[in-house]
Symmetry: C2
Subunit: 330 residues, 2 copies
Amino acid sequence: MMTTIEGLGEFALITRVTSQFPRTADVILGPGDDAAVVASPDGRTVASTDLLVEGRHFKREWSTARDVGHRAVAQNYADIMAMGARPTGMLIGFAAPPDLPVVWAEEFTAGARDECALAGGAVVGGDMVGSDVLTIAVTALGDLEGRSPVRRDGARPGEIVAYTGHLGLSAAGLALLDQGLEGPGECLDEHRRPSPPYTAGPEAARLGATAMLDVSDGLLQDLGHIAASSGVAIDLESEAFSPEPALLEAVRVLGAPEGKALDAARRLMLSGGEDHALAAVFPSEVELPDHWRRVGATRSLPEGARSGDVRVTVDGTVMDGGGWDHFRRG
Amino acid sequence: MMTTIEGLGEFALITRVTSQFPRTADVILGPGDDAAVVASPDGRTVASTDLLVEGRHFKREWSTARDVGHRAVAQNYADIMAMGARPTGMLIGFAAPPDLPVVWAEEFTAGARDECALAGGAVVGGDMVGSDVLTIAVTALGDLEGRSPVRRDGARPGEIVAYTGHLGLSAAGLALLDQGLEGPGECLDEHRRPSPPYTAGPEAARLGATAMLDVSDGLLQDLGHIAASSGVAIDLESEAFSPEPALLEAVRVLGAPEGKALDAARRLMLSGGEDHALAAVFPSEVELPDHWRRVGATRSLPEGARSGDVRVTVDGTVMDGGGWDHFRRG
């Protein structure tokens, strides 16, 4: 019989889980006290929080516990690096039904630990409680290393819009899983374990990015936030979006006719959620490293533009960005 | 008809909620970007996280939304001050069913805002998602102002054990609610809106406390953590525990015979959960301000004591501390 967390008990589970997390140089005091203490040498702390709810943000049938651990950490540290900061520490709240197998909690922990190692941060604390719905609350902390935070509202007209990371693969992976399809694996993997370009955030800040964000709700919708906050329009060129081979393969597997595969793939790159790529705006004179893909430019708002007007175009046309509203059903 | 959060929509709700939170001097960048930026002038950040699950940590029949907002903030900032730190910023994750009335979210926000004002911290960010179970994830941040964090493991033999804040009232309040009893109001209030002695944490650190913690699982169990971590025994004297009049009244209302009311009240002070009082150990020469109540002393472990042995006595006797395991049912 599988041991459940109820059978093991809260304190034994906490001990078993926290012993897995290595300490980094940023950990001044790790789990086990009222609170953790994390280094913030910059004198400012960057902080972000996310909730992952079973059935809404992950499914145990579609993702392993290890995948969910990776994802919980990845999507949060993606927010930290999208400010131009370096991940330092993380707190994980874990609300679970009493019949959750201990092995699920352990595998989740292993995934979180491994993703922390990729991102360079540590797990420093958390909470464990019972709930009928498996829910994971992650809070990530980061250090700016003396840089200014790269916000959403700093873009100016005449600048370059670029991204780095994977666009569209996660949404394709979700669609494949939804239809019970097994490949291409890169898309399934990217949905189960997104791979944010962690070092690109601080890099963009050093390069002088004027605005930046983590692409989580779809590129069009997220660039809409930059446009609205900064008071600029953004024009994208569809030709600049070169789908990865796995994405093209995925849209074919999903039924796109041959002549429409490129369009379908680009649509996923523009509108698919949960990419955790990084989108940024740079002054036009910045020379971008190769892993940044230039996809458009900012311009002044047309005269008479009002707050709420759509400000992101693709090939000169406003495209429906899709996007997510977490309280809408199905 | 009551407007639900599904009807209002995620972004409108976020706008409505975040506009309520005032900025303090510690808020460098508030809600609305990928992450918040909070001042941490000490160069170290104290961080703690808690989950509150409806039906387990609060009931909508027993507590107003405003109460839950107060409590969510209070129990988290209590952890910050129990390290000797000053509350600075807070992130609130909010997972709610689509049919939650908007007014509940707004009242929760108002309670959280008001408790933040009491504690001196600010709400700087959060997350809103859908879930079948109303769940609130709070992460609190604090600044040590140059002091050393007061941990659980620093107590030495021959020191003073003391507490400040309210003991037993919250547990009495819970028992009263459970039996449908309406008073005494101080106990109900303390359960619904605990009042941690926020400034006493930094004060204790300045006075030289060697160990300290937030009393959340019952004083005996929590002092057991200090004893185990520090490698000392703790002896408490029941005579030192003077129940507040409201607590004595509550145990009478709950049915304690007149001759047993004092004992019953002291039992709640020793074992009741969710007090959010502050317990600390001080060197014997420290002169404690009046709001600290001296209740016992530390001594060396008896020879041959092993890890796991019970190390907290009351009047020389080991008492069952009760205590909570969050994964056990009912």
